[in-house]
Amino acid sequence: MDLIKPELGLLFWMVVSFLLVFFLLKKFAWTPILEMLKERETSIENALQAAEKAKLEMARLQANNEQLIQEAKAERDAILKSARDAKEMMISEAKAKATEEADRLIKIARENINNEKMAAITDLKNQVANLSVEIAEKLIKVELSNKESQKDLINKYLEEAKLN
């Protein structure tokens, strides 16, 4: 049958032209196409990897930032806290000092008052004594006529004087 018997002419032209075009296309099409495809794929691959790296870097930086912010916050809190502590301490110190001073002043005042009081009392005593003496002088002048009543009177006065 003609169909399954290869014809010499077609076979000849097929081999010649197919091989010719194959080598032609290999040089001018297949090899450059495959090379450029590969080149593009590697560049895309590299770009993707770079993007991935950049993403990781970004994440790292972000984490860093976060950490920095956290640290800054902690530091701020610490500073605030210490400031507050200092303030409280100062206030309490000032209070203590003030109290102490007040106490001291009060104490001095009290001492002064006491001294003044003692002085006043002494003065009063002296005056009372003088008065008494004057009174006594007057009384004596009056009572010395009666011996018995004189004695009583003196005793009475003496007893009273002891109270002070």
Binding site: E7, W13, M14, S17, M36
Partner: protein, 391 residues
Amino acid sequence: MRNSTYNNIKISKLSLFLAAFATIFLNVALMANEPQPHGNEEAKTENHNDAAPAHGEEHAEGATGHDEVDGHGEGDKKFNPGEMILEHIGDAHDWHLFGDVAIPLPVILYSADKGLKVFSSAKFEHGTKIVDGYKLLHNGKVASVDGSDFYDFSITKNVTILFASLFLMCLIFIGVARSFAKNRGKAPKGIQAIFEPFIVFIRDDVSKASIGPKYEKYTPYLLMIFFFIWINNMMGLVPFPPPFGGNLTGNIAVTVTLAVLTFIITHVSANKNYWAHIFNPPGVPGFVLPILIPIEIMGVFIKPVVLTLRLFANITAGHIIGLAFISLIFIFGEMNAGAGYGVAVFSVAFKVFMLVLELLVAFLQAYVFTLLSAIYIGTAVEEHHHEEAHH
């Protein structure tokens, strides 16, 4: 935006169907013209070959002779589907367009005694004339009048298709390469964007997957056979303007060349492992070897034969089925014009179906041929498959 894409898809689908219908109607139109001139040729060549004296008589009859032969051919000649189909899928020395119109193609003949002869096939005048001691037989072959041996290197219909398709491939793929160079490192555009997915598909899913780490050396060949077969399959499906509508990949000379190229590449690049697998299959008991080695050797030669026949048979069968559906119209039309029109509806519907199927087959066969070539090459360059064979 979305809507316009959808519309584009709709339009392209519509145009696909239009193209399919146009194809079929062209086919029908072409074949409607077929039987009559064919009958003429036949009648003439028969006269010419079988009855030499009759030839003289015919000429003697002069001017009326021609008309008579025409009338005779048209009246009696029955539509012969087998002959028509074989003519369509076979080769020819001229390119028959329609009716009496055919493009003559160069005839190149060489014989030891007559030397090289180059002339137009029109000189045969449909087989009625003898040129330089050669005649055109009615099966379309050239024969020498004295029966001497000669070689026929004619640029036949198939050779024309071959040249045209290879030229088309050069245009397409050098264009693609230039497009690649222009868009170096950028996204594909235009013709490059059409072919790049297929090139990547062949490289990654056929070449790399079947051959392994050494795939780069063989990828250009695989791309070449894949696109050659696919483009020619597709060109065979388009019926009309030459160089379309032929049956190049359904020609055994073409498929055998491709298969033999694969065979040669396989065995030139075959390594020690490959030969060891044939002549000393690993892990096989000694007494089986006398049976196994001949089978392995047969397998080596069966592979290219199978490659050859698969492509040839698939593409030829597709053409035969398509033509047979169309022939039905004329077979029934000869019985009764009404029956012809009735059958035409079903024939055309089946032909549309077949054509869509053939579009798939065109790709599939190109893919299968390429994939099997890659697998054969892969087995030849594979390293250390069976560890125990080497220890």
